[in-house]
Symmetry: C2
Subunit: 502 residues, 2 copies
């Protein structure tokens, strides 16, 4: 019996020697039952080549655990051991979960506000470029990254990947029944480095931009691949499962039942219940995010003022991972201005959702952040980091919009509150004074004006509240009394926000 | 028998002396049958006070016409006369009609592209201010104005009107059975002056912003008032009927059947079939613009990229008369930046609709253009005039969007064509090169880049077309050949457009 000690939410790995004959990927089952007190967890293992089998476990509680393996192969069965789990390392807060319906927190309760970026194929680029990507990420202020397991074949993405994801057979074709351990070891090494940087990895399992055959694997090959990912990667605390980038462009070969089944495989084989989502291409083709296995809404949609609609429609956290990208390349999803992307972040956050970043400036060697990583050349990322910093200062339960999708004036301007803090973001609006949404009772509030582009926060001048003129308005006489205890004087230019604390 | 000569589309007025006893408004019917060859037109008359009755007629064809009056009062019946109609005066093109499904033209065939502004209550302001409004309009480049018959009671609009629209009875109350001829003479004088300036008057018949009682007239009072407006004003060639500003805020006292009836009264009493529309307040409360008596869609909606949806939904010209206004007042519909309003105009036009202007900068004496007229202080109006000038240079049949509401890439960027000219407006997008939507055959095209804010037009550099990289994209391999014969190099900043002629 082995005995090991690891910190809570770190990864314990049991390596076993076993048979190499036949195809262990297809033929050998392996799992462990891991127990603490009355609680037992089934943890699947996987074959890592060269006769090595692994079971990985991320304990979510301190104290003593024991395990016993079972396998279709007697040599791998009945192994036992004990595990001592100590307190989490500093900075490790555990996997991210849904909290308060529309928001997220780490397992230790620390609020998690996703501010993600996108580097679809960064782990398939030359190693020096991958180092540059990690160095950029260490400075950029993002805490999530969308990244694919498979390489990408797309405009600006014509290079071959570092490794094949499956091994090639004698005639040079990919054998989708033989995962390439080298490729996965590299992928999970980068996954671990992201974890140490506090960055969640939103792992894209399928996508249509393929010339190697990954997008055309059979249903059974897909199911085994998803099972393998769960066994191999789920013990990394920073894993999120993104079933696809643009799943709807794969519906010709992967019908809807298959997508539902992938979700089920993750539920069955990921003992930790990492977040699960699925991303659409066509805006009319959102997956039915009300299905119970979807933990949160992942969406591609530039029309960010509709965020409250998606909250209402799906009743889950909304992460708009593709509100178009800052850049200047020819595809229209990849060429909005930095100002516009920052604006879309603020609108989305101030309507109770979350947004994702991408950068797509043309580059002489096609090294574009959105797919390959490298350097950031744009202006939005700094303002997004500023927004994150502003919101994290006061984050408690998560932002709730001040009004519904069509509630005056919140269909036009954006506002949200979280406990004692409230924000009103004006965007393209530039009122010289404002009252709506401010506190209705007089009190000791700290009121600031935030310049979302210049990244300044300055105390606001409080003025008398606006008292709307009474008018016949249908049967309603609007106004006659203010809707808040005080108003705020504003400089009358766009892209400002008010923060009111207290 | 009288004989008169007027120009086509000018107004012929027959004045008759008649009874003053009782209430002629309620008790005396009057109309003329006006005949040219086989064609007879019923033209209603009206009582103008002091025993004067008038029948007004706007002939739409040159040549000889005759008329005969009929009335419930023998003194007004059987009057006959002849009318010689000469060619239209220079610059007079006749009333505006719907043409080509989604567009407008004057009766003589001249394309009419509405570029309207909004001065709801300008005819109720002091006369000097009205002169200033007209002087501004003469320079501003607008060819339509939204203006109410009734005065306005609303924030920033607290002054009493110049005149009551109905006369007051002995105890000082308005008598809704006695129109005030003085008020109407003033209103139609200004209507005539707009006509001479080439400005269409989008006359708002009802609105909810009222403290005098106009919004609470009975159904029968309403019906008589609409009938009177048609008899009195329809002979002005520049009349458009706008049943309401924000009709839905009046539904408590004027149910939907009444709105339908107002439309019918206009159809029955306006011999010329001037344009008829109705404007919503709440974006969820659009009137059913498919009803046959609605000539075009008048809409209030800031979400201007949806313009093609409204075209498809209603199958009529779309005029978004309230895409929010440039300004800095506190109501959120009245404080967008000039840049944003110009952007919304371009998006709307480049998706096959039309937009309306309003300006709402706070003013120490509440003299705000949107309601009272006066001066323009903003920056959008100049760019809107520039847009009008650009489009009128090439206007033939009207702009048709390059794609449907969700067609790639036209849901993101905006493009339209009219015969041999096509435009692509990028807005917040800033590609460094572009191909989609340009001509598919090589040829002798004139290609320009339009800076929509700086109002410059410069020749574009043509470059090789973008050839999309072939990708597996569902079952479709996208690209491999360009979708146009050439591309255009762009400076990679927002708010530019391409114009391609030939």
């Amino acid at each position: 019996m082995m005995n090991a000690t690891i910190a809570r939410w770190d990864m314990f790995e049991l390596e076993l020697e076993g048979p190499t004959d036949g195809n262990p990927y297809l033929e050998v089952s392996l799992e462990a039952t891991i127990t603490q007190g009355d609680r037992s967890i089934r943890v699947p293992g996987f074959y890592d080549g060269d006769g090595r089998y692994r079971i990985r476990f991320m304990p979510d509680a301190e104290g003593e655990w024991t395990y016993t393996t079972s396998s279709s192969t007697p040599a791998l069965s009945g192994r036992t051991g004990a595990l001592t789990v100590t307190a989490a390392r500093p900075g490790m807060h555990g996997p991210v979960r849904v909290r308060n319906g529309f928001h997220f927190a780490h397992a230790d309760g620390k609020p998690y506000l996703p501010f993600g970026t996108t580097c679809y194929a960064w782990t398939h680029q030359p190693l020096a470029l991958q180092e540059e990507t990690l160095a950029t990420l260490s400075q950029a202020g993002f805490n999530k990254i969308r990244m694919g397991v498979f390489p990408k074949n797309y405009p600006f993405n014509v290079n071959e990947p570092l490794q094949d994801i499956f091994e090639r057979n004698a005639d040079g074709n990919l054998d989708f029944d033989r995962p390439n351990p080298e490729a996965f070891r590299h992928f999970e090494q980068q996954l671990g480095r992201l974890r140490e940087m506090g960055i969640e990895a939103d792992i894209i399992i399928f996508h249509p931009y393929d010339r190697w055959g990954y997008a055309d694997m059979s249903a059974d090959e897909d199911y085994r691949y998803v099972t393998y990912l769960a066994a191999r990667l789920a013990a990394y605390s920073n894993v999120w499962w993104s079933l696809a980038n643009e799943y709807d462009f794969l519906l010709d070969t992967k019908p809807m039942e298959q997508w539902d089944r992938y979700f089920a495989i993750l539920e069955e084989n990921d003992p930790y219940g990492h977040l699960r989502s699925i991303h659409n291409g066509d805006v009319r083709m959102n997956y039915d995010h009300t299905k119970p296995w979807v933990t949160h809404v992942c969406i591609q949609n530039w029309d960010v003022k509709r965020t409250p609609e998606w909250r209402e429609q799906y009743g889950k956290p909304v992460v708009n991972d593709e509100p178009e990208y800052e850049g200047n390349i020819w595809p229209a999803w990849g060429n909005i201005s930095a100002e516009e992307l920052v604006h879309r972040f603020w609108v989305t956050l101030m309507r109770g959702g979350y947004a994702g970043h991408g950068e797509t400036y043309a580059h002489p060697d096609d090294i574009i952040w959105w797919a390959k990583g490298g350097k950031l050349y744009g202006e939005a990322w700094k303002r997004i980091a500023f927004l994150r910093q502003v919101l994290e200062e006061d984050a408690v339960e998560g932002l709730t919009p001040l009004g519904g999708p069509e509630t005056w004036p919140w269909s036009r301007v954006s506002g949200a509150r979280d406990g004692n803090v409230r924000y009103i973001y004006f965007g393209e609006h530039q009122p010289a004074q404002w009252t709506s949404g401010l506190p209705q009772e007089d009190g000791d509030y700290q009121v600031d004006i935030i310049d979302t582009w210049n990244m300044t926060i300055t105390p606001a001048e409080r003025i008398a509240p606006i008292i709307p003129h009474p008018t016949r308005h249908g049967a309603v006489v609007r106004g006659g009394k203010p809707d808040a205890a005080f108003g705020v004087k504003l400089p009358g230019r766009p892209h400002l926000a008010i923060r009111c604390r207290g």
